[in-house]
C-alpha cells in the first residue's frame, strides 16, 4: 500500500463524512476490483463519502448517482485525492 503523505492520495475510508474526492487509482485485485469498477470506482471518477455506519465500519460512498456501502479495509484500496478540504 502507498504511504499517504500530506498531498498524496489517501484511502477512500480516510475521507470525512460528506467530503468529496477524485479517484486516483484502485489497488484492489480480482473480483473486488471488477465489482468496484462496474459500480464506477475507477480512476478519474468523482466520489463522496455520504454515510458512516454507527460502529465506524463500513461507510457508504456516492459514485455515479448511487450509494454503495464498502468496508473500510476494502475502501482503503481505493486511493483518492480530496477535492474539498472539509466534509459537510
Amino acid at each position: 500500500m502507498e504511504k499517504c503523505g500530506d498531498k498524496g492520495p489517501i484511502g477512500l475510508n480516510e475521507l470525512k463524512q460528506g467530503q468529496r474526492a477524485r479517484i486516483e487509482r484502485v489497488l484492489a485485485q480480482g473480483d473486488l476490483k471488477l465489482k468496484l469498477t462496474e459500480l464506477g470506482f475507477f480512476a478519474g471518477e468523482p466520489v463522496q463519502k455520504t454515510l458512516v455506519s454507527p460502529l465506524g465500519d463500513p461507510a457508504a460512498y456516492l459514485v455515479r448517482g448511487s450509494i454503495t456501502a464498502i468496508r473500510n479495509a476494502d475502501a482503503a484500496l481505493v486511493r483518492v485525492l480530496p477535492t474539498e478540504r472539509q466534509g459537510v
Binding site: 473480483d31 473486488l32 476490483k33 471488477l34 465489482k35 468496484l36 469498477t37 462496474e38 459500480l39 464506477g40 475507477f42 454515510l51 458512516v52 455506519s53 454507527p54 460502529l55 465506524g56 465500519d57 463500513p58 457508504a60 459514485v63 455515479r64 448517482g65 448511487s66 450509494i67 454503495t68 456501502a69 464498502i70 468496508r71 476494502d74
Partner: protein, 646 residues
Amino acid sequence: MGLTSSSSGRGALREKIAADNKDGLPVVALAGNPNVGKSTVFNALTGLKQHTGNWSGKTVSLASGRGKKRDLVFVDLPGCRSLSPASLEESIARDALIRGEYSAVIAVVNASGLEASLALALQVLALTSRAVICLNLIDEAEKHGTRIDVRLLSKRLGVPVIPCTARSGRGLGALEKAVREVIARPESGGNAAYRAFLPPVDGGEAAERAAIACLEECSRVLDGAIKTENVEKRSLTERLDRAAVGKYTAFPVMFLLLMLVFYITLIGANYPSELLYSLFSRLETLVFRALCAVNAAPWLRDALVFGMLRTVFRVVSVMLPPMAIFFPLFTLAEDLGYLPRAAFCLDRCFRACGSCGKQALTVSMGFGCNAAGVVGCRIIENRSERISAMLTNSLVPCNGRFPLLITLVSVFLFKSALGASPLVSAAALAGLICFAVAVTLGTTKILSKTLFRGESSPFLMELPPYRPPKLVPLIIRSVLDRTLRLLVRAVAVAAPAGLVIYAAANIPAGGGTLLSSFCALLDAPARFFGLDGTILAAFILALPANEIVLPVILMAYTGGGALGEAMGGAELLSLLQSNGWTLKTACSVMIFTLFHWPCSTTLLTVKKEAGGVKWMLLAFLVPTVVGLVLIAVMNGIWSFFAPGMY
C-alpha cells in the same frame, strides 16, 4: 426474498416461458440493475403477484406473466450490474439475452441514477436492436431537479426511450406501445460499436477495461441530455438516514422498530386467533356430525376429526394471524429501504463473527418463519457465509415458537394468566430474542472457525433511496407470496402429523398407549437435560410444526386421546407443577424451544437451498447441540448458585 418458485439456473427460462406461453406469443424480457424498480415495472405490466424488493439480488428465480392485453409474455430477468458471467443471476440474464430467446427487450434504467444504470442498457443494445429503454422512477428524478432530454437520448441510442413511473402507472401505455412497434421491426443484430462493452467470459483486466469503456460511453451519451438544477435542499433520504444510521440513534431506532413489529404482531394476532379458534371448533362439530350421518366407522371418524382436523385447525389458528401481520410489516420495512440500512449498521458485528451484515436481514426474516429466512439467505453472495447463515437461522425463534415462549414466560415468571399484558410479553420476548441473536452470533463465530474457514468475501451493498411503497399491493403480495405458501406447507405436514399423534395416543402398547411408552422410553435421557420424556416426545412429534408442542405435552399429561382445549393460566400452572415442573424445568424448556432442531419445512428448505442432505443434517444438529449445551450449562450454574431454589 420471497418464497418464490423454485426454477432457477440455466435453461430455466425456456421451460418457464413455455408454461405461460402455450400460444407462441412474443416474449419480452425485462433487464436492469437491482434497485431500478424492474420488478415494479414487471408487476405493473403483468398485474402479477411477483415480489419486488429494495435491495440487490432479489429476483433469483425467473418470473413470467402475460401482459394485460394477453398478447405478450413478459419475463423478469434477474437484476444484475452487467452481463458478466460471474454470478448465477448475471449468467441467467446473459444466457437468456445472448441466446435471443425473446422478441424484444425492455432495458429498465433508473432516471435518477442514469450514470450507472445506463451501462447495462448499452450492453443490451450491443445484442439486439429490438430494445426499448424504460426510464423508470422519472418522478423521483424530477423531484431532485433532474431534467432529461428524452428525444436526444433516443436519437443517440437509436431505440425508443420511454419515461415511466411504474409505481403510479405513468408511461406504461407508451412503453407497451413502443414494445409492439419494436417487435414489428426486423432484428438488425445490435449496435456493433457497443460490442466492446460486453464483459469477456474470462473476466480479469479485459473485463475491467470493458466496464470502464462502457461507463465512459454512458457519460458521453448523457452529456448534454441530462441537466440537474441544483436543488441543495436536503432530500428526505438524507434526513431519514440521520436517524436510521446516526451514530447514537441507529441502534435505539432498530431496537424500537423491532419491538414495534412484535408488539403489533402480538396484539394484532390475539383477536383473530381466538376468532379462528371458535370458528374451527364449530367447523369440527359440523364435520363430526356429517361423518356420523354417513355412518363412517367410529375409529376413522375420530381419527379424522380429533386427530387430523383438530391438529390442522390448531396449527392454522395459532400460526396464520401472526404471520399475516408480521410478513406485511417485514415487507414494508424491506420496500421502504430500511433493511439495507439495518444490514449497513450491523455489518461490523456480523463481520466480527465471520459473516456479513446481510445475515442480519435473514435473521430478522427468521422471526417470521425460519424456512423463509433460509430462502432469504440467497442474498448472501459468499457460499460459506450463506450456508452458515442457513444452518444458524433456526437459532432465532419463529412465529410458531412465540406462543409457547410467551405462555411459559407469563405462567412461570409472572404467574399470571395466559396472554399477560402484550407489553410485558413483548418485552420478555425482546429479551429472549436478544439472547437468541447473541447465540446466533456466537454459533456463527464457532462455525467460521471450524466448518467454514476461509476468507470472507468483500461486502459491497447498494443503499437505495427510501421509497414510499404502495400499501395494498404490498399486503396482497406478502400475504400471497409468503403467508399462504407457508400455510399450505404447514397444513400439508400438520395433517399427517395429526394422524400420527392421534394414533400414538390411542393405540395401546405395554400397559399404556404408544405415546406413553414412547415418553417413558425417552424419560431417562431427557431428565439428564432437565426435561422429561413427555416434553422431549412432544418436541419430536412437533417436528412438522412447532405450534403443537404444548398441546401435545398437555394431551400426554392428561392422558387424553386428542389435543385438548386451551387452558387458563392457573389451571395450566397447576397441571404442569403436578407433573413435576419447576421454574428450572420451565427455563430448560424455554432454552430448548429457542434452540432445537428446526421444523421439517425448514430442514427441507435447507436441503434444497444448500444443495445436499449433509447440510440438512447439520441444520438439524447445530441448533440441537447448541440447545443441549446451553441447558447443561444453565443447570450447572443453577445447582452451583441456587441448589435449593426451584
